[in-house]
């Protein structure tokens, strides 16, 4: 196997520990459908953001103090006194928002092109677990600066568990390590906020193992018929991913340098005060659609069930969508409802940011109902009644004149470049 390596040192290492073979197999030779669009950039982009987050986070932790009497000031010290502390913190805070933007686009792409359909069900599940771990990590990270939004966000979210019948209050006391969000809570949140990114890293690794077992989906949603339909990952997609990263960095750093508090809440620059709730509590933007679903139900337990249900329903997506065709490109009906669903999520996000009163309540309830209607009624139904467009014979077919099978392609596949 390691006969492929000319360098003697690499060969020596690889014979004993085949890391170079693994790397070559999964990042160089990995046969990638040659028709991937820019929507396929967001997976590697998410991995890139995770690395930025872990790096900036480790250096922030070197200057942060997880104690209620010192946390807020230690963050201000990072901002004012620590060399480049402001840069580390703004990279980390805005990186969190970027992470969710990238991951949400990655998920919507998967939904449009049916990337969750067999045999990629577990790939989709691992992605969802990554999302859930991200949400927990982001929530606990937001508590650490110990501002007003940190404190009250932590109070509201941990109180969600008090809705559980019988044991709810015990669970909340256990989560807090006391009778309110306090020093023990801050300490454990810091410990877990440091731990979870490494769990995330492991999940991302499994996500990639699953991806490389079932191979990438593509905009046509059909399997490559042979080597003529794929190109090696390197250099074709390494360079395309790098280009995407460059564009992404321009957007990300524009926020870091020119609007670093764009995604933040002014109230979080007020130290936490357990006696005063801010007039208008809002979670970070990436939780707003789920927050809107929570508030749409006028019953406490009901709201909590709906909120968790809105994530759990995603796990059933591979079976709720009954269509045999993967890509939305060939599903005229689904395509329209997909965009309606995207709009619905944006409406939920908007409602989540508004106070729970007047017309906002009603709009929130309609948008919540539609969210579940999309998954539980529309998706099973559309798959049954939709007349899909004919699929091309192969990935190469649509780009070749006449749209047919390239001459001799089936008989004698092209040699891989």
């Amino acid at each position: 196997m390691s006969g492929e390596f000319n360098n003697k040192t690499i060969k020596w290492v690889d014979d004993r520990l085949p890391i170079f073979t693994m790397l070559k197999h999964s990042a160089v030779d990995y046969p990638t459908p040659k028709n991937l669009s820019y929507w396929w950039n967001f997976g590697s982009l998410a991995g890139f953001v995770l690395v930025i987050m872990i790096l900036s986070g480790i250096f922030l932790a070197m200057n942060y103090t997880a104690n209620t009497s010192m946390a807020f000031e230690s963050v201000e010290r990072i901002m004012r006194d620590v060399n480049y502390g402001w840069l580390l913190r703004y990279l980390h805070a805005n990186g969190g928002s970027m992470f969710f933007i990238v991951v949400y686009i990655h998920m919507f792409r998967g939904m449009y092109y049916g990337s969750y359909k067999g045999p990629r069900e577990l790939l989709w599940w691992l992605g969802l677990l990554i999302m859930v771990a991200m949400m927990a990590t982001a929530f606990m990270g937001y508590v650490l600066p110990w501002g007003q939004m940190s404190f009250w966000g932590a109070t509201v979210i941990t109180n969600l568990f008090s809705a559980i019948p019988l044991v709810g209050d015990y669970i909340v006391t256990w989560l807090w390590g006391g009778f309110s969000v306090d020093n023990p809570t801050l300490n454990r949140f810091f410990a877990l906020h440091y731990l979870l990114p490494f769990v995330l890293f492991a999940l991302v690794f499994l996500h990639l193992v699953a991806l490389h077992a079932v191979k990438s989906n593509n905009p046509l949603g059909i399997d490559p018929k042979g080597p003529q339909d794929t190109i090696p990952f390197h250099p074709y997609f390494t360079i395309k991913d790098l280009y995407g990263m460059g564009v992404f960095m321009m957007v990300y750093l524009a926020f870091v340098f020119w609007a670093p508090d764009f995604f933040g809440e002014p109230d979080n620059y007020i130290p936490a005060n357990p006696m005063v709730t801010p007039a208008h509590i809002v979670p970070e933007w990436y939780f707003l659609p789920f927050y809107a679903i929570l508030r749409a139900v006028p019953d406490k337990l009901g709201g909590v069930i709906m909120m968790f249900g809105s994530i759990i329903v995603l796990f059933f997506l591979p079976w709720l969508d009954t269509s045999k065709v993967k890509s939305g490109r060939f599903r005229p009906l689904y395509k329209q409802f997909f965009w309606l669903f995207v709009i619905d999520c944006l409406v939920l996000g908007y409602i989540g940011a508004k106070p729970a009163e007047g017309a906002y309540v009603l709009i929130g309830q309609i948008a919540t109902a539609y969210y579940f209607f999309h998954f539980l009624v529309l998706l099973p139904l559309i798959g049954k009644i939709e007349k899909t467009k004919p699929l091309p014979h192969s990935i190469s077919a649509p780009v070749l004149k006449g749209g047919g099978i390239p001459a001799g392609a089936t008989a004698k596949p092209m040699e891989k470049a």
Binding site: W152, G177, G178, S180, P184, R295, A356
Partner: protein, 181 residues
């Protein structure tokens, strides 16, 4: 199918199976028990439990005034209620209450209302302690987070909160001093 295999192979296999099951069971139960210290370490520690009572002097609180004190890291509302407020709280029909409770059962002395100022929905501190605060539709307290309205007895009347504001354990040490907890 395991049974079929053991019967085919004779008596010795059954005894071996028993040992395997017993070992697995003991190992599983043992591991589960060993987890408890880790789980329990996250529950309130002894020092947190020790800080569990607060004494309050009521003498400086005039009629129609409220104060907020801290007990176990939570705000406790103490209100010196006016005659009208008491009357209002006592004239309500049970059917108008999502969590029916008599005002008489929520106070030790009618003019002193003592309760934990934490909304039973998701833990925000309701407004209504200051004269300038919005007090909601029932002239008691109003939670700004998700719009729960409480009446002059701290009972939930409207909004997502499931229960009344809880009354902590407290006792009158003298006519004008209470001990909470």
């Amino acid at each position: 199918m395991a049974e079929a295999a053991t019967h085919a192979a004779g008596q010795g296999e059954t005894r071996r199976d028993f040992l395997l099951y017993a070992t697995t069971a003991v190992g599983t139960v043992g591991t589960a028990l060993a987890l408890w210290p880790f789980v329990h370490s996250m529950n309130p520690a002894a020092d947190v439990l020790a800080l569990s009572s607060t004494e309050v002097d009521l003498a400086p609180i005039a009629e129609g005034q409220s104060v907020t004190v801290t007990w176990r890291g939570k705000p406790v509302f103490i209100r010196h209620r006016t005659k009208e407020e008491i009357e209002k709280a006592r004239s309500v029909q049970d059917s108008a209450l999502p969590d029916p409770q008599k005002d008489e059962d929520r106070v030790k002395k009618p003019e002193w209302l003592v309760m934990i100022g934490v909304c039973t929905h998701l833990g925000c501190v309701p407004l209504g302690q200051k004269a300038s605060d919005p007090k909601g539709e029932f002239e008691g307290w109003f939670c700004p987070c998700h719009g729960s309205h409480y009446d002059t007895s701290g009972r939930i009347r409207k909004g997502p909160a499931p229960t009344n504001l809880p009354v902590p354990e407290y006792a009158f040490l003298t006519d004008t001093t209470i001990k909470i907890g």
